[in-house]
């Protein structure tokens, strides 16, 4: 099934299993979601549990917090991750801290689904991944699937989790197809070792996992490919284990060169597996620019397969850290 259908399936199965699961957001009910990620939900579960909201991200994100505290399990949809910029308070400063502030008396089992990422020509205000807005938030979990299977299994796990979960959906994957075994459970906080190799550990997240996979193939290098899947709390054990085996680490990410999530991985792994490292770990990222609209430019915004492949080769064969393409191609410093 398609990635977006996996979302629908996970929602459907959780809503069937537990009638405290409710769902709301802009145009998610009657219109079945701007990206068709809620096809059939209104029909199946009715207008009490599946609701269209006014354009009021602050109110409906905060409403999810309140409803969760009163025993519901709300899932909400933030159409584009950027829209959380008008509602960050409700999730990060209220929702994520309620359990702590109530000394454990209330919990907040809610999921904020948001589409994210570039590649579709939506321009600079509708194309970022923005993990940094939510990453350093004790009390919040952050999940990002990379294919239909993980979308299905991780969304179910997120809805079942008793904590607030930010669930980031790479928009470019919605139409992608993949096998989905609905009996397969995945745990939040566990990385997926997608392929095993000996010479380098590649850590990635979301759609970049797919780029990394193709790049590994193109490079011909034997690599561990780790799909982090959960960014908070991320699977330190899995990454350390792999790095200690391969002695090399590369993170491939869609976030900007400055401030992206990959530094967290490199930093931790370096601190804790330093002596195991044969060469310098490094990140392959987007550049420090707003996402451009133009198709030719946007195609270069995210790390490309050839770029990642050649970086992997250089890292393994020469133990070198490649310069980002914008430096080697002389377009920026």
């Amino acid at each position: 099934m398609r990635f977006r259908q996996a979302i629908v399936a996970a929602m459907t199965d959780e809503m069937k299993a537990d009638e405290s699961v409710i769902f709301f957001g802009e145009d998610v009910a009657a219109a079945e979601g701007p990206f068709k990620t809620s096809e059939g939900l209104l029909d199946t579960f009715g207008p009490i549990r599946v609701r269209d909201t006014p354009i009021s991200e602050m109110a409906f994100t905060g409403a999810a917090v309140g409803a969760a505290m009163m025993g519901m399990r709300p899932v909400i949809e933030i159409m584009f991750m950027e829209f959380l910029g008008v509602a960050l308070d409700a999730l990060v400063t209220e929702g994520a801290k309620m359990h702590y502030l109530s000394h454990g008396e209330y919990s907040v089992p809610m999921v904020v689904r948001a589409s994210c990422g570039s590649g579709l020509g939506f321009g600079s205000q509708h194309s970022q991944t923005l993990e940094n807005w939510v990453a350093a938030t004790p009390g919040l979990k952050v999940v990002q699937p990379s294919d239909a299977q993980s979308a299905y299994s991780l969304l179910r796990a997120s809805i079942q989790d008793n904590n607030p979960v930010m669930f980031l959906e790479p928009r470019i994957l919605y139409a992608e197809r993949g096998e989905v075994d609905t009996s397969l459970k995945m745990e939040i906080g566990k990385a997926r070792l997608l392929q095993e190799g000996s010479d380098v550990t590649i850590v990635s997240l979301g759609n970049m996992v797919n780029i990394a996979r193709d790049a590994i193939k193109e490079s011909g290098i034997s690599a561990d490919l780790i799909d982090l899947a959960t960014l908070v709390p991320w699977d330190r054990e899995a990454v350390l284990k792999s790095v200690k085996k391969t002695a090399r680490l590369i993170v491939v990410e869609e976030s900007p060169w400055s401030g992206g999530w990959g530094s967290e991985i490199i930093s931790y792994a370096t601190s804790h597996a330093f002596s195991a490292l044969k060469s310098a770990p490094f990140r392959i990222t987007a550049p420090d620019v707003p996402v451009p609209y133009s198709g030719v430019l946007e195609a270069r915004y995210i790390p490309t397969v050839p770029n990642v492949a050649s970086a992997i080769k250089q890292a393994v064969s020469a133990n070198e850290v490649p310069q980002p393409w914008w430096i080697t191609e002389g377009v920026s410093k």
């Binding site: 537990d18 409710i22 009490i48 549990r49 609701r51 909201t53 006014p54 009021s56 991200e57 602050m58 109110a59 409906f60 994100t61 905060g62 409403a63 999810a64 917090v65 309140g66 409803a67 969760a68 505290m69 009163m70 025993g71 519901m72 399990r73 709300p74 008008v86 308070d89 409700a90 400063t93 209220e94 801290k97 309620m98 359990h99 702590y100 502030l101 109530s102 000394h103 454990g104 008396e105 209330y106 919990s107 089992p109 004790p138 009390g139 979990k141 079942q160 989790d161 008793n162 904590n163 939040i188």
Partner: protein, 332 residues
């Protein structure tokens, strides 16, 4: 010692108990102010002197399983709703016996047994939360209501607008209560807000609205009861503007020197303690001797709470790491 729920239930149909609770709040705030000045309380405090009748009016008409999402100006709400003087004072002193284990502090009161959701230190933070609690009640077919309780100046924040609209369109059992105490921090409301009667903002959402004398506990009860009935009937939200006055400064050591001359004196005549005293005296429930006796009792209660809180244990380092995440999966 009585539980929060018992202290809440004790208010039922007991007018004298309302007065006693108001005295307790007043004395609590007086002492809190002193302790802050003396450096025995850190951070910040926001006193609710002048808002006691409103606090009691709410606590007495709501059921303990109704909920309220209030603000940092939280002591009066906490005490009126049933949390003990000791538990509130211990929280303000950061002790492990505080109602939030000393983790929250003055701005963050909480007690699920009497429906006090963690109070928010962010303007507008509680409004969507109350709206969502009401959504849960609606879906669960419970007859409960949720209260969003906030200040006059908070009516200028985006979350007010969004929450009111959402509550109206979904006909949720939530009541938005403006505690119009005339000031937002150091600024008179007329300097930040171009209208006088804040409750008319409900017109933007076709929501019923009204104004009430927040100094008169009976008036508050009557007005709130109507709104609560409407909500429980399934007829949706109401905006209630309660006119009170902030007799103290905004927070910490603020002396409120920016008040226009005569304003404090003007409002002093409507001091809710005074207003209640007069009403109860007229009803024959109070006389001067009784008043003096109850005031002494309040002093003693608060003093005892302070003494106990002071000697209570600090939270442990483990407490700092507790309640960040809850058990990973739902039960069942």
């Amino acid at each position: 010692m009585s539980t929060s729920l018992e202290r809440r239930t004790a208010l039922k149909d007991n007018e004298l108990a309302w007065y006693e609770r108001m005295l307790e709040i007043r004395e609590f705030e007086r002492r809190t102010n002193e302790l802050f000045a003396a450096g025995e309380i850190r951070g910040t405090t926001h006193l609710c002197v002048g808002e006691e009748a409103l606090n009691l009016g709410l606590a007495t008409v709501l059921n303990p399983d109704d909920v309220i999402a209030a603000t940092y100006r939280s002591h009066g709400i906490a005490l009126a709703f049933g949390i003990s003087t000791h538990s509130v004072m211990a929280e303000i002193m950061g002790k492990s016996t505080g109602c939030a284990g000393g983790i929250g502090g003055s701005m963050h009161m909480c007690d699920s047994s009497v429906g006090v959701l963690p109070t928010s230190a962010i303007i507008g933070g509680g409004m969507p939360v109350a709206t969502g609690a009401a959504l849960a009640f609606q879906i669960q077919k419970k007859k409960n209501v949720a209260i969003a309780y906030f200040g006059d100046a908070a009516t200028n924040i985006g979350a007010f607008h969004e929450s009111m609209n959402l509550a109206a369109i979904w006909k949720l059992p939530v009541i938005f209560v403006i505690n119009n105490n005339v000031y937002g921090e150091y600024t008179r409301i007329d300097l930040s807000t171009p209208i006088e009667d804040l409750h008319i903002r409900a017109e933007s959402y076709a929501m019923p609205h009204t104004q009430v004398d927040g100094m008169d506990v009976y008036a508050v009860q009557k007005t709130m009861q109507e709104a609560i009935d409407r909500a429980r009937r399934g007829d949706g939200p109401t905006l209630v503007e309660a006119k009170t006055y902030r007799f103290s400064g905004h927070s910490r050591a603020d002396q409120a020197l920016y008040r226009p001359e005569g304003e404090l004196e003007h409002w002093s005549k409507r001091d809710p303690i005074l207003v209640t005293e007069q009403a109860l005296t007229k009803k024959g429930l109070l006389d001067d001797a009784k008043i003096a006796q109850l005031k002494e009792a309040a002093v003693a209660t608060v003093e005892a709470a302070i003494v106990q809180a002071k000697s209570d244990p600090e939270p442990t380092l483990k407490d700092m790491f507790s309640n960040i995440y809850t058990s990973a999966k739902k039960v069942g």
